[in-house]
């Protein structure tokens, strides 16, 4: 896979802007889009993430080595699947009923959100991360490697090489990682899980992930699968 020099962020909201700030600080070129015109986000980007280039979705995707989806989950189908063809894509999205509405209308209850995102963008490689920490924690907790009390993010996907590359990217963005090579394990950090909204160090995150089946949420998921 190609080296990551330019990061493309789709979604210029709370999370998208924080990720743009972190990527700029890490030395990447950053391109970012909202749902409307470039003009609509220009002032926001030049003020909150100076150095990032506001663009259209098309303009973000064509020039970036890595794409981050930071839009409400209920909107991902507004992006044509072929736009992301052949791309390495980070899914930072969660089902969030306050913005997405009723779950059954957005997601098929039989699988996880990232699997459905992968199914839709079937010519792209999806890796899930950045989803389980609140946006201001992402902003405030980012630290250089080796610093004390550095926090960790869960990185998971079906493509081994892609997970490793994204994990390395996450590390440059300011976080340790816990990796899994199974996209469906994204469920372990979805809303309702013990990890959603939590900022933990690597050993603590690893510990919760390793014992996921014993958590209340893990038990619930297991029971649903069994049923």
């Amino acid at each position: 896979m190609s080296e990551i020099k330019t990061v493309g962020i789709i979604g210029a909201g709370k999370v998208g802007i924080v990720l743009a700030q972190l990527a700029l600080a890490a030395g990447y070129h950053v391109r970012i889009s909202g749902s409307g015109s470039v003009q609509k986000i220009a002032l926001t980007i030049s003020t909150l993430a100076p150095g990032a280039t506001p663009a259209t979705n098309q303009g973000v995707v064509s020039k970036s080595d890595l794409i981050i989806l930071a839009i409400p989950l209920s909107r991902y189908k507004n992006i044509p699947a072929k736009l992301l063809k052949g791309k390495l894509v980070i899914d930072a999205m969660n089902y969030w009923w306050e913005t997405d509405g009723i779950r059954e209308e957005v997601l098929d209850p039989s699988s996880t959100s990232s699997e459905q995102v992968q199914q839709y963008f079937n010519k792209s490689t999806i890796v899930k991360t950045f989803n389980h920490m609140g946006y201001h924690n992402l902003q405030e907790e980012a630290k250089a490697a080796g610093e004390a009390n550095r926090k960790a993010l869960f990185v998971t996907g079906d493509n081994h090489e892609a997970v490793d590359q994204v994990a390395q990217f996450v590390n440059t963005m300011g976080f340790d990682t816990v990796r899994h090579y199974r996209l469906a394990d994204g469920i372990m950090t979805e809303p309702g899980s013990e990890l959603f909204g939590a900022s933990l160090t690597q050993p603590d995150l690893q510990n919760v992930i390793d014992h996921f089946d014993e958590t209340e949420f893990g038990q619930k998921i297991k029971a649903e699968k069994g049923a």
Binding site: L43, E98, G101, G134, E140, P191, E194
Partner: protein
Amino acid sequence: MVNVDKLQFGLETFGDIVAKEDGELLTAGQSIRQIVKEGELADKLGIDVIGVGEHHRPDYSVSSPEVVLGAIASVTKQIKLATAVTVLSSDNPVRVYERFATLEGLSQGRAQVMLGRGSFTESFPLFGYDLIDYDDLFNEKLEMYSQLIKEKPITWDGKFTQSLKDQDVYPKTDYDGLETYIGIGGSPESIIRAARYGYKVILAIIGGQADRFVPYLDLYKKAAAQYNMPVYPVAVHSHGFIADDEDEAVEVAWKNIKANFDRIGLTRGWAPMSREQFDGETQSGSFYVGNPEHVAQRIARTINLLDLGRFDLVYGAGNQTAAQRERMIELYGTKVIPRVKEILSGEAVA
């Protein structure tokens, strides 16, 4: 530089259910009457604003804040009466105008409208709205509201709202019209929208450090300039608890704020609040907790940092006793506010 003489201090409550000394909960009605009493106390102490939230849940007593504010109006003289916030998206802008214009008359010009998208969602299904229209609802209703408060006959073509043809709304207000704030969470788009309408801005800082909002103020000013609109001093609202003793304040706040956040988190899928998180919030984040000196130092820092015109402390989270709530209000009025002003008038800000 902060203009200390013009600084305003407010109190806001979401109408949490009050507890008795033995931990048993009061009824919603008793909790509502407690708020009226607290509004009266705040007025006597010279606090500038009392804000009451709107919630449609069992853990809060107030779903109709203007009614409560009307009662407070009748027993107070100076204090401004605000909603914190009015969930405009699931309300009817004509009704919003009518209720506040009534409150404005009752209180001789002390009504303050704080509009927001709200961080709770119960009101959407309750009033027949679909959350998926969250943004569109707010945009349309804000536009309608901004026409209504001109207090002239209005012609309006609505999608989520009723259409009107040259219709007038009543009562008219006697003063300078309704004072309006927009409550803002963390979305840059909201702050630009507030600037575009020329409304005042109140930032809800309910997690993390106030420092991250510094660039937002820049955005607010630039947006106002772009739309040729006035720039007002910005207000902030954050949670807090004050007691005479530092340790007591921390323990009461930890128990109550945690219970409150965890209960809300449960319905949204957040992990429970950890002690580390809480301590981070009280030391350098958005919870103003401690003895009067500690809280005053932290409020002064935030006011200075963000060049604020107003600071509102959200009180009563969880199930506090009436005594704890009232003592907190007394300490805020008699110790914290004067001390914040003193700190900010002096040179050194810690």
